[in-house]
């Protein structure tokens, strides 16, 4: 990190390499006096060109390939992919398969949120460079975080074979499904995880938060009976209510020179926010009672407009994830077959699911042999990019009295509110179809 003083009364704040985020990016804020002149979230993560090399691959290869976009949230990519491809093939999965998909996804939420809340974000609030140094004085907290994270990973291992790039998810279902006993073996740990998450909400709610609120447009999935995860319509607090297939009509991507990730905006209203804060504000009533209760007790209720409180909302979502996992395990009866197959046919399919960091949209076009003609992937961080910059535009003016290094640290913390996954965001979006 560096904070450079410039000539006159203009100053430049530059974080050359954002740390405790996934991937490579930097931020640059230009100040003249107390006025912010420019904010750039620069993404220099090298392009990997997924949408291009997916062309010509067989659709059955897609879930394993797109997992490689992100080591932190591979299940999210697999889930959006299989749902989109199943729409093309008109496949309806067995209810037990649906249950298992939710369960493995919750494992990823637990792993990812535990990592971010305690190991990447909490050090900002408590004044440490990282969780390992934090462990010297807060050993119990870090050990608790590691155990929580491990329980999420364990769920993914039981259902998917391993925690990073799991191998069991496929179009139509799973390669192999667990027995009831396999899942029952997880219940004690998950019960501990639920109780610990409730305690964790209280711990993080006691941190100190900067006074900062924004009038966000929140976008998330919405389902009539469930807190959003694998299905639902895309909604916002400003009247958006669409099916995933209409994503391209409402959202557009912009390619700016300083970022290798396309910035996604609402066509009519520009920047918006996806992720835990959006889900929480739009779907509070769908949270299980235990999660709602502890959130109310900590005075974190919708509308929650302070992005720094996102750490509390993530902890509330941990409570949801553990509760929901326990509920699903109690209901589980293995499906008649681990997957259903359907004849290949040409077509286009869309899907959006809720990755730990927010809405993840996929669109595929396949030919009559089942080969990919076009792929389009819009990850959550690409969608939040513009909103992150807007937060800094509004947040930095309250910091101008501080020394540059303090401003810089606060800016980094503000970026981490979004748990940005830059590796994901660099897997951009195709703008025009090339014939």
């Amino acid at each position: 990190m560096s904070a450079k003083a410039a000539t006159g009364n203009s100053r430049s704040i530059k974080v050359d390499y954002l740390t405790r985020v996934e991937g490579e990016g930097s931020i640059q804020v230009k100040l003249k006096g107390d006025q912010v002149q420019d904010v750039q979230l620069q993404i220099f993560e090298p392009p990997r060109l997924f949408e291009a090399f997916l062309r010509g691959r067989h659709y059955l290869e897609v879930p394993d390939m797109v997992a490689r976009i992100c080591g932190i949230c591979p299940i999210a990519y697999q889930m959006s992919a299989v749902h989109a491809l199943e729409r093309i093939l008109d496949i309806t999965v067995d209810p037990a398969v649906r249950l298992l998909r939710r369960l493995i996804y919750l494992g990823e939420w637990i792993e990812s949120h535990a990592l971010h809340v305690f190991m990447l974000h909490a050090p900002d609030f408590l004044g440490y460079p990282d969780a390992i140094r934090m462990a010297v004085e807060h050993r119990e907290l870090v050990e608790l975080a590691l155990r929580l994270k491990k329980i999420g990973n364990q769920l993914m291992i039981v259902l998917g074979g391993r925690e990073i790039h799991p191998i069991s998810v496929t179009v139509g279902g799973f390669h192999k499904v667990p027995t009831k006993a396999d899942l029952r073996a997880l219940v004690d740990d998950l019960s501990w995880a639920r109780d610990t998450s409730i305690a964790a909400v209280r711990i993080v709610a006691g941190l100190e938060f900067p006074e900062f609120e924004q009038d966000y447009e929140f976008v998330s999935l919405s389902h009539p009976d469930e807190y959003p995860l694998t299905e639902g319509r895309l909604v916002s607090n400003r009247g958006l209510d669409i099916d995933a297939s209409e994503f391209g009509d409402q959202f557009m991507e912009q390619h700016v020179k300083y970022s290798n990730a396309l910035q996604c905006r609402l066509r009519e209203r520009s920047a918006y926010l996806v992720g835990p804060l959006a889900r929480f504000n739009l779907n509070f009533d769908k949270l299980p009672e235990a999660a709602q209760q502890v959130a109310r007790e900590c005075d974190v209720v919708p509308p929650c407009l302070n992005p720094f409180r996102g750490i509390v909302v993530r902890a509330v979502e941990l409570v949801f994830a553990c509760e929901e996992a326990l509920r699903l395990i109690a209901q589980y009866e293995p499906p008649a077959a681990p997957r259903v197959e359907a004849p290949v046919r040409a077509g286009i399919g869309h899907a959006a699911t809720e990755a730990p960091r927010g809405v993840l949209y996929h669109r595929y076009e396949i030919d009559e042999r089942g080969l990919i003609l076009n792929a389009r992937i819009v990850p959550p961080t690409a969608q939040n990019q513009k909103r992150i910059e807007d937060d800094l535009w509004h947040f930095v003016p309250q910091l101008t009295a501080l020394p540059l290094d303090k401003i810089t640290a606060k800016c980094e913390q503000a970026v981490r509110n979004y748990d940005p996954c830059i590796s994901c965001a660099t897997h951009f979006v195709k703008v025009e179809r090339v014939p």
Partner: protein, 285 residues
């Protein structure tokens, strides 16, 4: 020494073979210093270190993690005793950066398929990367990328390569333990088939005719795919002595088209020479 030091096991607090050096803002540390670098990748292999939940705090006692942007805001300058490198080289900037990284690291270890073979993004190596960029970006002029995605060892000497997409975290801990003790790491180079037999799996290739890459793929994953009723898809890359020609023939007997076979070799370690050659031979025939 033990390969997996427990976090509370004081006896595994290793005496390091080397001391740290260079100018530091902290007091000189008696522990070997470690830096973790990222190039083009998904972050999954470096995440494996954080995913070693039972070992992480123990590892952090035995080593001094002084550069690991995904996990810490501490970014000390080199030189470092151990450098772990994730990701492949895909830009001019990264081709220069890996030279600097090599100069800063006494021991340089590459972790994962991207760093050891160019990764999934090496699929561009058979295509026109300019066309690829135009497919994805509205303003291709803004994008700086190399025509090829290449492994680190094509650019600088590498002391050890840990395979896998992703790596196995237990192998990573074993490797770190071995480096601390100054011994050879116990990382097998035989095929997935051996692991599969040890798990007493029924062979999915023989019993069901699945196109399984296990016979030519290096062990390390624990044969998870056959254990989940599917053929191995080769994410640990080629084993030490592959017979890809024989496997290609077997895939043909199983009724796989040449296109299918080329795709099977061209996935997560496509640019590893054994798989590269097998795919290209199949394409020629």
């Amino acid at each position: 020494m033990k390969s997996k030091p427990g976090p509370k096991d004081k006896t595994t607090n290793h005496q390091p073979p080397t001391t740290s050096h260079g100018e530091r803002s902290e007091a000189p540390s008696p522990r070997p210093t470690v830096a973790v670098f990222k190039f083009a990748s998904c972050d999954g292999c470096q995440l494996s270190l954080l995913d070693a939940e039972d070992e992480l705090l123990g590892v952090a006692q035995a080593l001094d993690i002084v550069y690991f942007p995904e996990a810490t805001s501490i970014m000390l300058k080199g030189p470092y005793d151990i450098g772990l490198v994730e990701g492949s080289i895909t830009t001019h900037h990264d081709a220069e950066r890996i030279q600097q990284v090599r100069r800063q690291c006494r021991t340089l270890v590459t972790i994962g398929a991207c760093a050891t073979s160019g990764g999934i993004q090496a699929l561009r190596n058979w295509k026109d990367v300019g066309a690829f960029v135009r497919m994805v970006y509205a303003n291709p002029d803004f994008i700086r990328t190399l025509k090829m995605s290449t492994p680190v060892a094509e650019h600088v000497p590498v002391d050890f390569e840990l395979r896998g997409c992703p790596i196995n975290k237990h192998q990573l801990i074993e490797l770190i333990g071995a480096m601390l003790a100054g011994r050879k790491p116990n990382i097998p180079t035989y095929s997935v088939c051996l692991e599969c037999k040890r798990r007493a799996n029924v062979c999915v290739a023989v019993a069901r005719g699945d196109a399984c890459m296990g016979p030519v793929t290096q062990a390390g994953c624990g044969a998870i795919c056959p254990s989940f009723d599917r053929g191995c898809y080769g994410c640990f890359g080629p084993m030490e002595s592959t017979n890809t020609a024989s496997l290609t023939e077997q895939f043909r007997i199983l009724g796989r088209s040449d296109d299918d076979i080329v795709r099977a070799f061209r996935s997560y370690s496509a640019w590893a020479w054994q798989f590269r050659q097998a795919g290209e031979e199949c394409e020629k025939s």
